[in-house]
């Protein structure tokens, strides 16, 4: 049976623990734990919640025009993130363009293509190759992709006419029907 060996509490030098040490230690630990929580929360924001308001953003198109989300209020907006080096975006491009041709005349929907982490020459080649008509711009500073918390390309976001997020599509659309169904989705779906 183990007996605690003879090293009793040192009564000779009974230092009282300085309060400031406890304070700093506890505050540091609490701060560290809170910081971990914040870090965890920000990394777990895997996608925006449906129905949430989309903050205004401005994108400069490849034609040099500045377009802001606010200026398009009243229309349904489809934001599609793509890149010229993304193989599945190639599959999706003709579908998006075909849908755009169908939808544009009615004037209710706007397509915005956001070129993610790409080079301008390659992007222009891509747009030309697939005869993309709708407006496209580069995601400068990768700020838009951060705002939408994208996890890769392609991803498509549907913003309703009052500026809230209606639907999210991760990955490419496999058919034009799928895309048209997506466009019909309302908030809360």
């Amino acid at each position: 049976m183990a007996d605690p060996l003879a090293t009793p509490q040192q009564t000779t030098s009974k230092k009282s623990m300085p309060v400031w040490v406890i304070f700093i230690a506890v505050v540091t630990l609490l701060g560290f734990l809170i910081f971990l929580v914040l870090g965890l929360m920000s990394s777990r924001q895997q996608s925006l919640t449906l129905g949430s308001r989309i903050d205004d953003f401005t994108i400069t198109t490849f034609d040099g025009k500045d377009v802001s989300l606010g200026s398009l209020r009243g229309k349904t907006i489809l934001v599609n993130f793509w890149a010229s080096w993304c193989t599945t975006c190639i599959d999706e491009a003709p579908i998006l363009e075909e849908a755009w041709q169908k939808i544009e005349p009615a004037g209710q929907v706007v397509f915005i293509g956001v070129d993610y982490a790409d080079t301008q020459p390659a992007a222009r080649v891509f747009l030309q190759k697939y005869s993309i008509d709708y407006m496209n711009g580069s995601d400068l500073g990768l700020s838009l992709s951060q705002q939408f918390h994208i996890t890769g390309v392609p991803e498509t976001y549907l913003i309703s006419s009052d500026g809230t997020l209606n639907a999210i599509k991760i990955g490419p659309f496999s058919s034009i029907d799928e895309l048209l169904t997506f466009l019909d989705q309302k908030s809360g779906n």
Binding site: S13, K15, M17, F35, G39, S43
Partner: protein
């Protein structure tokens, strides 16, 4: 069926872990030995149950049951048997189960073979702590990252992974699996993760006993002496794991380096730093009864960092090539961290007063003092690493700005501290315990110090102008000289006292004090590694050229001739393109190297495998970057020359051997009493 069994065994193990916690608490309250013993046995019983669960998963993997999500993700039929087994830790769920298995094994061993008779008062608390940790991990595997989940298909095409069949879904059995990430398909995968995880989980044992001793107030330090074997074992495994990862990176990833200061790598390095500090600091507590609080802090901090590292790697908080993709275990992991950190700090603050050591520091030049500097340096290194790892997260949380902290920052901030550690390694063997002075230390040191000055002189004369390299190599030389000088003096003294031949004295001395000479062998290993690191960090040269088939270019005194491209070993799933180069080293020696690119078509990912020619003086390291085989055959080749890099690996082997030697139990009481 097998999957249900596997899950079932694991679930029972989880229940038993809760049972162990409960009975241990009850046994403590009711002071019942029967309950305490039952708790202890429960911890041992958990291991065979988890083993059965692991074997179930392995069974599913080896027989290619692709309806199971995990099997589908990491197994494909073309993988060789050994890789299929290593795929157990190839994905998040499986590697968590593997972690649980190792944790269960280590805790079972510690309660089976540990010195529980001497530690009897601490065992119940150690049971509670280890079983709580294990319960958390079991919970995560059972309910959040379940490797036994199956793939279910709904009529609308939606695919779901779950353990229990969702209503309205159908069974789907994919004909083939996706397969292990190509980057993981090599021998490094066999040893690196197991060694690393073993290192991590082994540190739970000293942590549990340290905490137990704080709870019970038995702070005599016995727990430290008796769990020392576990700490050293953990340190050896962790060192091996880190080195294997480094070697794997060098051998296979084709970027010409061995350590990229990636956040996940650093997360594994941090506990190693505090564990190393602890192993040193523990010596001082034994000899001079100092640093008691230091040692508690270091031991508990080591395990805290193990859990923190696992959390950062697996929860998706860190962005890294190593990190597992986003997962739901973050919050639960965070609760475990909170529990462990708060308990550690709470216990330390509670028992602060009784952790006053009785010893004194008589001189700033005494060995104790040098060990104090050692502790400080390691803690500074750890804090710097922590800053670098957490800063990107800090930046994003407080400013929304995403930033990267790259290798250069780490090298600049840790380099000087590592150099100071080298200096300490050179001084400490010649220092003495107790009262000392600058004069006395200087007296011991001046002979090897003067001889060591030959090194920087020689280097400067040879035209080397990089002051960092000169300084580092000088310190490395100093350490080696001091090691051999000290050994020589002791052997000589021994020999003249014992009237023995030199060799016999040497051997007897070595074998008579495993701890000391194991430790010094580890230092020798470290110094050799330092030499290798200096070589590659300060003197690496590289070039990249595009050449036609049949032409040559010269690099570092060698002529490299591009013979052509080949496609060895191409199968349906992957195509290997290799560039064959004949190297003429100029002194008549020629050899052939074939760097290749292994393109896995299914995963659309390729692995760049370098062609390497190793000599002790340096490595010629060739990577195939790109190629054209249309009209004319040409290849883009990047060549590195990495001077002295072999010494990094040689030193690592010496380090591990030194650790094993130190670990080897002393044969007699007399030996155990040998001074360190």
């Amino acid at each position: 069926m097998i999957a249900n069994l596997g899950f079932g065994f694991l679930f029972i193990a989880f229940l038993i872990s809760l049972y162990a916690i409960g009975t241990a608490i009850y046994g403590l309250c009711a002071k019942s030995h029967a309950f305490l013993e039952s708790a202890r046995i429960a911890t041992i019983v958990i291991f065979p149950l988890v083993t059965l669960s692991v074997l179930s998963l392995l069974g599913l993997m080896l027989t290619g049951q692709f309806e199971y999500t995990y099997v589908f993700r990491v197994i494909s039929q073309d993988m060789p048997l050994i890789l299929k087994i290593t795929a157990l830790w190839g994905g998040q769920a499986g590697s968590l189960l593997f972690w649980v298995w190792l944790l269960a094994g280590v805790t079972a061993a510690s309660f089976l073979w540990g010195k529980q008779k001497q530690l009897k008062a601490l065992v119940p608390w150690a049971v509670i702590i280890t079983m709580t940790t294990l319960a958390f991990f079991l919970f995560m595997v059972l309910f959040l990252e379940n490797p036994f989940e199956r793939i279910w298909l709904f009529a609308n095409g939606q695919v779901v992974s779950s353990f229990i069949q969702p209503a309205g879904s159908f069974v789907v059995i994919p004909p083939a699996g996706f397969g292990l990430n190509p980057l993981l398909r090599n021998t490094g995968m066999v040893l690196h993760p197991p060694m690393l995880y073993l290192g991590f989980v082994t540190f739970l044992v000293p942590f549990a006993y340290a905490a137990a001793s704080l709870i019970t107030g038995e702070v005599s330090g016995d727990w430290m002496r008796l769990t020392r074997g576990w700490t050293l074992a953990g340190w050896i495994f962790l060192s091996a794991g880190l080195v294997l990862g480094s070697r794997w990176s060098y051998d296979v990833l084709g970027w010409g380096g061995y350590w990229s200061w990636d956040p996940v790598e650093i997360a594994a390095l941090m506990p190693w730093l505090t564990a190393t500090a602890f192993l040193h600091s523990a010596i001082v507590e034994e000899r001079r009864d100092l640093f008691k609080l230091w040692n508690y802090v270091l031991v508990m901090l080591t395990f805290c960092l193990v859990i923190l590292g696992a959390f950062l790697t697996r929860s998706g908080v860190l962005s890294s090539v190593h990190a597992f993709s986003g997962s739901s275990i973050g919050p639960v992991f965070f609760i475990l961290i909170g529990l462990i950190f708060v308990t550690s700090l709470g216990l330390l603050l509670w028992r602060w007063n009784s952790l006053t050591a009785s010893g004194e520091l008589h001189s700033i030049f005494s060995r104790e003092s040098l060990f104090l500097f050692n502790n400080i340096l390691f803690v500074c290194l750890f804090l710097i690493c922590l800053t670098g790892v957490l800063f990107p997260i800090l930046s994003e949380v407080f400013t929304g700005q995403q930033v990267t902290v790259g290798a250069q920052w780490y090298k600049s901030t840790t380099g000087p501290l590592f150099a100071l550690l080298l200096l300490l390694m050179g001084i400490v063997p010649l220092s003495v315990w107790g009262a000392s002075s600058a004069k006395r230390l200087g007296n011991e040191l001046w002979k090897p110090a003067v001889v060591s000055l030959l090194i920087p002189t020689g280097l400067l004369l040879a035209g080397i102008r990089s002051w960092g390299a000169v300084l580092a190599l000088w310190l490395a030389g100093l350490v080696i000289l001091v090691l051999f000088y000290d050994f020589w003096r002791t052997v000589s003294a021994w020999r003249s006292a014992m009237h023995e031949p030199l060799l016999a004295s040497g051997f007897r001395l070595l074998l008579g004090n495993h701890r000391r000479y194991g430790g010094l062998l580890v230092h020798l290993g470290v110094v050799l590694m330092a030499v290798g690191i200096v070589g590659i960090e300060f003197f690496q040269t590289q070039t990249q050229v595009t050449i036609q088939q049949g032409s040559s270019f010269s690099f570092h005194g060698d002529t490299l001739h591009f013979d052509g491209l080949t496609t060895p070993g191409t199968t349906d799933d992957h195509e290997i393109t290799s560039a064959v180069l004949t190297v003429d080293a100029g002194n008549g020696k020629t050899f052939s190297l074939a760097p290749c690119v292994d393109n896995y078509t299914a995963q659309a990912q390729s692995v760049t495998v370098p062609g390497v020619w190793s000599t002790p003086a340096g490595d010629l390291y060739i990577v195939l970057v790109d190629w054209q085989s249309s009209a004319t055959t040409s290849a883009t080749i990047r060549v590195y020359y990495n001077p002295l890099i072999d010494w990094l690996w040689i030193g690592a082997v010496v380090l591990i051997l030194g650790g094993l030697f130190a670990f080897w139990p002393a044969k007699s009481v007399q030996e155990r009493g040998q001074p360190t």
